[in-house]
């Protein structure tokens, strides 16, 4: 899998101190932070620094299943994902990195009439937004995926234009393109404290020096409450472990990402031929980030997968790992400037779906920071909505 060979500026060594000043300092070198940095650098001459506590892709951006879908329950998410799909489809051309995108669709199976009634409402909304989702019978689903068991599903929701990607190259692509445009990206550089100057700038302390920045973006995902605590800001999002596995590579046979709504099982075949998937395991609410792997997950996933497609019993699991979802009470993200802290911006709480949202969210985030355009999500997803009951809940949170 050789990456594209072009002339690029590399990441600085971890001994290099970060620049002492910046216009915008982004905390978090996941896809959200890197994509915001790239979009800012591509549209302005602002001095942008990205500070990552570990390495690029060490958090949820490097641990997810790579799904891109437009089947959501709120118009905001449907329309954003339509635009994100377009950006992803042009990514290899625009950022010169192959992200192994494969548009095989998404097939959501349902077991109960109650789920079907809810999904029918989502499909009507998706169709109004020009997403070609259809409610299909179990027999039709079996024509798309002949390996499906004769388990008594009551139907399926199918959109042929959803897709899967290989997540890691997105980060290399955004990082390389951002650095080429002058962004300083520093890995192994945790921010340990944040002070404010008399003029309202932020002084970010790291082990290798300070960065004084006019504006800060907290794009630290599941770690964002810890970052916000450095400025005494309490965030309401919390982390939740989600486990995932990968099998040995198989000859291409599975067109769509297949998911069972009631169990939260999802599985897709990557361009590398592996099956990649997970299933919901109920976790007690905690503020600790737990990334351990458990036999309980392998057992639940293997049972779910072999019940769904019995022919997969012979397929071998080669690897399991875990990543943190960054959850909120209404299933929506937290974005925009913290009302009580001018200059401190939030971009977190993406519910385990930030990867697919990042290309479009980062574009509008950059336009907002540049004062050029403010997308409506800056109103809907603002932090202080939780005081008044939250936003319209997003119910299509899977995995």
């Amino acid at each position: 899998m050789p990456p594209a060979m072009t002339d690029r500026r590399g990441l600085p060594g971890t001994a290099a101190p970060p620049p002492p000043t910046a216009d915008v300092a982004i905390i978090g070198g996941g896809i959200m932070g890197l994509a915001i940095a790239y979009n800012l650098a591509a549209r302005s001459r602002l001095r942008v620094v990205v500070l990552e506590a570990s390495f690029l892709s060490s958090g949820a951006s490097g641990r997810n299943g790579g799904g891109l879908r437009q089947q959501w329950s709120t118009e905001m998410n449907i329309r954003l994902m339509q635009e994100s799909m377009e950006i992803c489809a042009g990514f290899a051309r625009d950022l010169q990195f192959n992200v192994w995108m494969r548009q095989g669709g998404y097939l959501f199976l349902m077991r109960t009439a109650a789920t079907r009634a809810q999904i029918e409402r989502h499909i009507a909304l998706q169709n109004r937004c020009d997403v070609p989702t259809r409610l299909i019978s179990t027999d039709e689903a079996r024509q798309i995926v002949p390996q499906l068991a004769t388990e008594p599903f009551v139907g399926a929701s199918y959109n042929p234009t959803d897709a899967v990607v290989f997540p890691w190259p997105f980060l290399w692509g955004y990082a390389a393109a951002a650095m080429k445009r002058g962004v300083a990206i520093h890995t192994q550089t945790p921010v340990t404290a944040i002070d404010r100057t008399g003029t309202g700038s932020f002084v970010l302390h790291t082990a290798r020096g300070t960065v004084t920045a006019g504006r800060v973006v907290n794009a630290a995902g599941a770690w964002s409450p810890r970052v916000a605590a450095l400025v005494d800001l309490a965030l309401p999002d919390w982390p939740a472990r989600h486990e995932i596995l990968s099998t040995e590579p198989l000859k291409p046979f599975l067109g769509p990402m297949v998911s069972v709504l009631e169990s939260g099982l999802y599985v897709s075949q990557s361009m590398r031929g592996e099956l990649v998937g997970g299933i919901t395991l109920h976790e007690p609410k905690t503020h600790e980030i737990q990334l351990g792997s458990r036999l309980a997950f392998l057992h639940a996933m293997a049972r779910g997968l072999t019940e769904l497609m019995p022919i997969l019993g012979e397929v071998k699991v080669v690897r399991q790992w875990a990543g943190p979802y960054d959850l909120t009470a209404d299933g929506n993200p937290i974005v925009g400037e913290a009302a009580e802290l001018p200059g401190f911006f939030l971009c977190c709480g993406f519910m385990g779906h930030g990867f697919m949202m990042a290309p479009v969210v980062a574009k509008y985030y950059a336009l907002h920071l540049l004062g050029k355009e403010t997308h409506p999500f800056f109103g809907t997803w603002r932090l202080d909505r939780f005081a008044s009951g939250g936003a319209e809940p997003e119910s299509m949170i899977i995995g």
Binding site: M1, P2, P3, M5, R8, G10, L11, P12, G13, T14, F55, L56, S57, S58, G62, W168, W172, A176, S246, T247, E248, P249, R272, E288, Q290, L291, G292, S293, R294, L295, A296, L298, H299, A300, M301, A302, R303, L305, T306, L312, G313, E314, V315, K316, V317, V318, R319, Q320, W321, A322
Partner: protein, 99 residues
């Protein structure tokens, strides 16, 4: 050096791929794993990890002893789904906080 020297046989990662990753600034085993895909195939790095670590160390110019291996992923060897489907749901070895 031959034009193509394969270090990771599962994923066809070459010595040149590793040098390229280091050139792009990815200097640790975890980063090079993700940049090249080495160690993500059926052997999960059991054949190639030490070889790739030496190649990274040589390209960076540090002793290989300064590098950390990547996090080992279970299962220890590839296991068929049908066996896992009937495995006990809990095991004493379930790790609480390894990442």
């Amino acid at each position: 050096m031959p034009r193509k020297l394969i270090l990771c046989r599962c994923e066809d990662v070459t010595a040149q791929d590793v040098k390229h990753a280091v050139g792009a600034g990815y200097r640790t085993v975890e980063e090079v794993k993700r940049y090249t895909g080495f160690g993500t195939g059926p052997c999960q790095g059991k054949e190639c990890l030490a070889t790739v670590a030496r190649a990274i160390a040589a390209a960076v110019g540090v002793p290989v002893s300064t590098l950390q291996p990547f996090t080992a992923r279970s299962p220890l060897a590839p296991i068929e789904l049908k066996h896992l489907a009937v495995a006990p749901a809990q095991a004493p070895g379930d790790a609480p906080s390894d990442d």
